[in-house]
Symmetry: C2
Subunit: 325 residues, 2 copies
């Protein structure tokens, strides 16, 4: 069993029965074959997560299996696409049965919840690295892009921001949280919930959208760049947890503002929509995922202004996380 | 420039103009959008290459850029599919402009030769690792799978086998080659030429097919497993270079037989076809890529018999490379 080999490993851990009639051929050949629904375009994205960079050595394998799919599902959500199929490539330092058991529990738990079929992959030995490609469908012409925001549009964000970075800071001893706050923040860091249904519901409503993975300020700047517009955002309206709110009101305000505006790993949706569609957006807000109106699109090309609680523009806006900065 | 950042890096090195009218949205959004041709199925595969495992530290970045695409194109060839779109994820220990320059030269050189568009990706810092996902098209129902070989079918292989492992052995000092033989063998190791056109030409002719990436014996065994058949293969008929042939005739015969039958990294096509189609197969053989008839499919389920030059079955068949063995 310790010498299961690559093919045995794939068969045992990854080759699950598929209930997807559009998969003509799954794991076990040189490539997989699927049928894209008539009238749909194909939507493709890939994300790689590296040990010590995106997750700590010793991280819970179940959360890692969940997260590598979640970040990709979040990209599908951000396009308004329906996720369908995934391919997983991974490097592991050694064959580790219990690690793989737990990793696949996390991966398939989320995959099944979203009706995503794992149809292919590649496994090798090497420094721990997981790389997932997601393929989804969207009715032709209906994907929600980053370009499309118009001056006067509302700026919206789902859920709350900043808790994943708050959890990381606490884990690294840079701040202190009580047990309840820590548990809740860690859930945001380790078990992000991609807004897949919300993303699809926003087709025909949102004028531009992306997911907040590198931090609100930097990600919103991508919408502004792509759309050739600016925006004014009010800090007071940016949704946050009670724990992060307490930090914002206290001695750690500066760093808390960074977590809120530029922390990243949020996997919430940020989108723009005409004010005329405001009732429809509000109708999509619910107890599980709130939607917050945080600002307005301006004609001031590519200029992001962030107002503090007194209405004064921040002299400098915290910037997004950059893997190569 | 040394601090170009992830977004600058992607824009500068990877975001090339696309001439593909079926790409609705390329690099620069949360995901790419493409249109699969009507009547076609979508074919998907992924391969990951890790430093020290699939390539040596200090390996030529141009060859690496070529090879990570080549191994994926070879998977498309093995299905009889037309490769269309690629997504690249990569981890690099540090931002290195000249490395990226050379890597992308190799990558885009091969991509342009095959009309493949790079439509998305992800870059991060970490131990060097490149992961490429390929998407291609095949007329619905016409992909060539591993299952489908019938007793009595011919077994064919393209090109020559074993030279990539011969080159690696020479690089590692396990054997000696003269300059001309070394140069030719290294070309097979570093610059594999995927048999993309050949693969598509075999649609409707081959009954089963795969590409030889892990070694002939192990890969052919996958066809036998999937098809529920056996095969007899004659060593004398397995195509090899003059350099490898010399090793097979000399004191290094045993290890040379391993390179030939189980070396891997060949990226040739191995396929079965009914004897009635033999003239059509031969017509596809040309000066650039020869096709060799190496054996026959038998009804002896999953049994691979390899006959030596005297017609005697090898007591044990060298087995394929396994990343987790």
């Amino acid at each position: 069993m310790a010498q299961l080999g690559e093919f045995g490993l794939i068969e045992r851990f990854f080759d699950r029965p598929l209930r997807d009639r559009n998969v003509a051929l799954g794991i076990g050949d040189d490539a997989a074959i699927v049928q894209v629904a008539p009238g749909c375009e194909l939507v493709l994205a890939v994300d790689m997560m590296v040990e010590s960079r995106h997750f700590l050595p010793g991280a819970d394998p179940r959360s890692l299996g969940h997260k590598i799919l979640a970040v990709n599902l979040s990209d599908m959500a951000a396009m308004g696409a329906r996720p369908r199929w995934a391919l997983l490539a991974g490097a592991l330092p050694a064959f580790d049965e219990s690690w793989l058991d737990e990793f696949t529990q996390g991966l398939f738990g989320l995959a099944e919840a979203h009706g995503v079929a794992l149809i292919g992959g590649d496994t090798t030995r090497g420094p721990r690295n997981v790389c997932l490609t997601i393929a989804g469908e969207v009715p032709a012409g209906e994907a929600i892009r980053r370009a499309g925001a118009k001056p006067g549009d509302d700026v919206w964000v789902s859920g709350t921001l900043g808790d994943a970075m708050l959890a990381l800071a606490a884990l690294q001893g840079r701040t202190v949280l009580d047990d309840a706050a820590m548990s809740s923040a860690r859930r945001r860091l380790d078990w992000p919930a991609p807004r897949v249904a919300l993303g699809q519901s926003l087709r025909g409503i949102a004028s531009a959208m992306l997911d907040v993975s590198d931090g609100l300020s930097g990600d919103l700047a991508h919408i502004l760049d792509a759309s050739g517009v600016g925006a004014i955002v009010e800090v007071a309206k940016v949704p946050r947890s009670a724990a992060l709110n307490a930090k914002l009101a206290g001695a750690e305000r500066d760093v808390a503002l960074e977590w809120l505006l530029a922390g990243g790993d949020d996997y919430e949706l940020c989108f723009t929509a005409p004010p005329a569609r405001r009732d429809e957006v509000i109708a999509l807000s619910n107890a599980e995922i709130g939607l917050s109106l945080i600002g307005t699109v301006t004609s001031d090309a590519k200029q992001l202004v962030v107002l503090d609680e007194s209405g004064t523009p921040l002299p400098s806006v915290p910037r997004a996380f950059d893997h190569f900065a």
